[in-house]
Symmetry: C3
Subunit: 362 residues, 3 copies
């Protein structure tokens, strides 16, 4: 979504040490304590050595009392290694595969045409953790569909799964036979078949598309994506300089933002003074209260409808099926933690994991 | 709650096929793909054949990764059969027992008198799933108590349970000794005894009544109901044409709306152009984000207090103990899915289940 | 937080019987059914006899169907005994240790200086339940830090734990190198070391401080506390007569309010006509919808930011990381139940437990 211009130069600047700690890790002028960068190959090799340390994620997911399995030294080391990997990931991806990219569209007779495939994919959620997932156009999340209120859109959905599927346009108000619930609105799209959805975009906002067939499995394993409808009248929506989309998920693939678990998550970058729009979409089965350090979040829309007046807060509790648009004024330079505040989704003795990223104000 | 006038004629009209799929199932003019109707006996006989397929509900309730146990054909067939049963249920109940009916009241010396019994009951939650429940007047939920702000009410509660109980009037502001918490406000009502509650209704809105003794068990297994207090000044509340109450519950009896799991849930019916009031009441132990397809929900009240301005959305996250009043303008004809968006409460390989219904605009 | 003046005289007044029930328990003029008071020693001796009855808390924490293990007589007896212990606790603590006390501060050259230690502690959550916890200044929650918007504060943090730690000032906007996330903002504070945080308080409100290192364990086991920043301009915040802070937690230490489970929780006291401010802070990993009986709650702030207009309700769903300020007009005399409405956090066959207290209006 966001421009990656100047990222390398920022990270290089950040490497100007203002203080040193063990292991060659240095404190950056941004306040970020940075590792020297590695190539993705080096990073992935290093990851293999510590992947066992990450194997207790599952234990953190269940509401049982945590117990100590790590020495004090291991806890520090693992926390530090997680941050190093996360920073390396901002320069060069530490996992294969990237979801949530914009989808090219072709306009035919005034209709914007999108092509989606539903695929069985092996998806790398974090370094070395490769899972049997399902994705649109081979990715988790699927590509971002984007158009403008009033547009006519046509979406061709080709089912390459081993079972039937359908697509529901969650939040969009569409004709009944386009709503995507099997046996209510349409027959399921059988394996190998293609179905064409076509409708006019009546309501703007942050919306979603996902399977509505065997959906606990299909959505949870990755048949999900963002559908952004820009308002016809741009003045009806606040101005912003940058935009980030965060599709939240849990359960089958672990705790993920845009299909990746920390340290493989993308940071939110901004230049000081910019206004950043963040769109949260919860496709999981648990509430995720998203907490940004350093600067308040102004909630300006819920499910694509204005929140009036905007509600300031530091933690936005996003329930399954909900979307929230929030604005952040990037006034504070430095790297700021940004994570789900259900700590069992975010930080254990093995360091930060799951629903964690950072906002980096340059 | 809502008038059932014209339901049969609507369903008959819906059977005018506009397209056929396998198995004699036909697409209705509403967009609903309808089965030919069965008698309740036929439906229940058919249910017995597939009840094993529904036995993995429990697995879906726990936060473990879903895994495939069904063939592609089975998944489609079970989704379709669920819809057929749900539609059959709108014509003629596919389960025994119906909760949430209005309770007759007698006015004695200016006091509206209601009679409640607390009963051990075997309750059919979905076809063939009969559980040891507890209910007021033998039903889950108990009958709807309804009166007007300013009314004096007297409720005689006869305890037919094997243990003590009390009744708390959740959301109503009553004198301290009427509030129903054992050893705080009153002694428990022993098995076989009757207790008389009497108070004046000070605050209007969507409220609840439920046990406050051994309540995780007693409430969760069915000692719960809606208490609707209409405002003295009707102009203080938005106008509506139809009204539906949805008591949400989970855990002991499974995921239920008004004591029934899909496909045994009641649809929400409306004529095009009508304004429908839906009152959500969460009596369970989990949050349930209720998602309506097709038309937005305007949240107008929380716990009986106005939400001002109303907040539009498509998914209302209802926490345990909360009630939300929402208005839906029934502008879009057809059948629209309506369900909790925690997918583990709503749709697995066995099709839709639990906290699922549909809104049908005729 | 609140004045304890007149508590003893209130409880003595309450002992004026207006009706008797079995076992010498008497109904108070407030509507509260009171036990004759015991000395803490008597209470704790009695607790030992019934502590086995409380051992099924863990079972209530998991989303499994409750089942009856107690006779009707036992259920009544245990409910009554819980209330007796709770009332005794209001006179004289029934558990050792008390968290959330104000922290003395010294002003040096215009800077308010606070001293915190991070300690391994054995903490008595409820009578006889002593757990391996972690606390600031030896207590759970840590002491309340309090200052005024615009103040310069310095907090010296001495780490007496067996492992490293850091402190994050959740909700406060501080310079990047003071934000407390290890390897992002600072190096971890090793065991035995002291770190000095210093910053100016830019934003008022109900905030928190807690560990941000190995935080699922460290925060959940007690390294948490309230940081209250009063507004520079008092007229910018509603007036109130009394103030209570409720730090909510779950998982490792059980379901606790301010580090204690019912019956060891503190009641909220008020004189009739007073306006009571309650500050909720959720430091746990689950949502806790807090339900007050008897009087509505007006939500006036979220995360320290105004909610405008205030939202009236009876149940406030507090998500992990969120804080809500609510005002209650203490108009209704008597004792009123006050608890999380997730019933598996509040009341089982063994009576009320966990996230339960009462508001007592004198």
């Amino acid at each position: 979504m966001a421009s990656r211009v100047n990222r390398r130069s920022f990270l290089e600047r950040a490497l100007v040490a203002v203080g040193a700690i063990s292991g060659g890790v240095i404190a950056a002028s941004t306040g970020f304590v940075l590792a020297e960068s590695k190539t993705p190959t080096e990073v992935q090799a290093a990851d293999k050595d510590t992947s066992d340390d990450l194997s207790d994620h599952a234990a953190q997911m269940s509401p049982a009392a945590p117990h100590q399995q790590h020495s004090a030294e291991d806890i520090d080391r693992l926390h530090e290694e997680g941050l190093k990997k996360f920073l390396a990931n901002q320069e060069s991806p530490i996992t294969a595969g990237k979801g949530g990219l914009p989808l090219e569209t072709e306009t035919i007779d005034g209709v914007k045409v999108f092509n989606l495939t539903c695929d069985e994919v092996m998806w790398e959620v974090e370094p070395g953790k490769i899972v049997a997932a399902r994705g649109y156009n081979g990715a988790v999340p699927g590509p971002v569909l984007r158009a403008t209120e009033g547009d006519r859109v046509r979406i061709l959905v080709k089912n390459n799964l081993t079972e039937s599927t359908t697509v529901h346009w969650h939040g969009l108000y569409v004709p009944n036979n386009m709503d995507g619930v099997p046996y209510i609105n349409q027959d399921p799209i059988k394996s190998g078949e293609t179905f064409t959805y076509e409708f006019t975009l009546r309501n703007s906002g942050t919306h979603m598309y996902h399977s509505h067939h065997n959906s606990l499995d299909q959505v949870n394993r990755g048949l999900l994506g963002a559908f952004i409808v820009d308002p016809k009248d741009p003045s009806s929506y606040p101005e912003y300089d940058r935009e980030y989309i965060m599709v939240l998920n849990d359960l089958s693939l672990g705790f993920t933002i845009n299909g990746k678990s920390f340290p493989a998550t993308d940071a939110v970058f901004a230049n000081q003074g910019e206004r950043v729009l963040i769109r949260y979409l919860n496709e999981g089965v648990m509430n995720h209260p998203m907490h940004l350090h350093g600067m308040p979040q102004a909630v300006i829309a819920k499910d694509g409808w204005p929140v009036n007046p905007p509600q300031l807060c530091d933690t936005v509790d996003v329930a399954p099926g909900n979307r929230y648009d929030v604005l952040v004024e990037a006034t504070e330079p430095g790297a700021w933690a940004f994570h789900c505040h259900v700590l069992s989704h975010a930080e254990g003795p093995q360091g930060m994991f799951g629903l964690v990223t950072a906002m980096i104000v340059q």
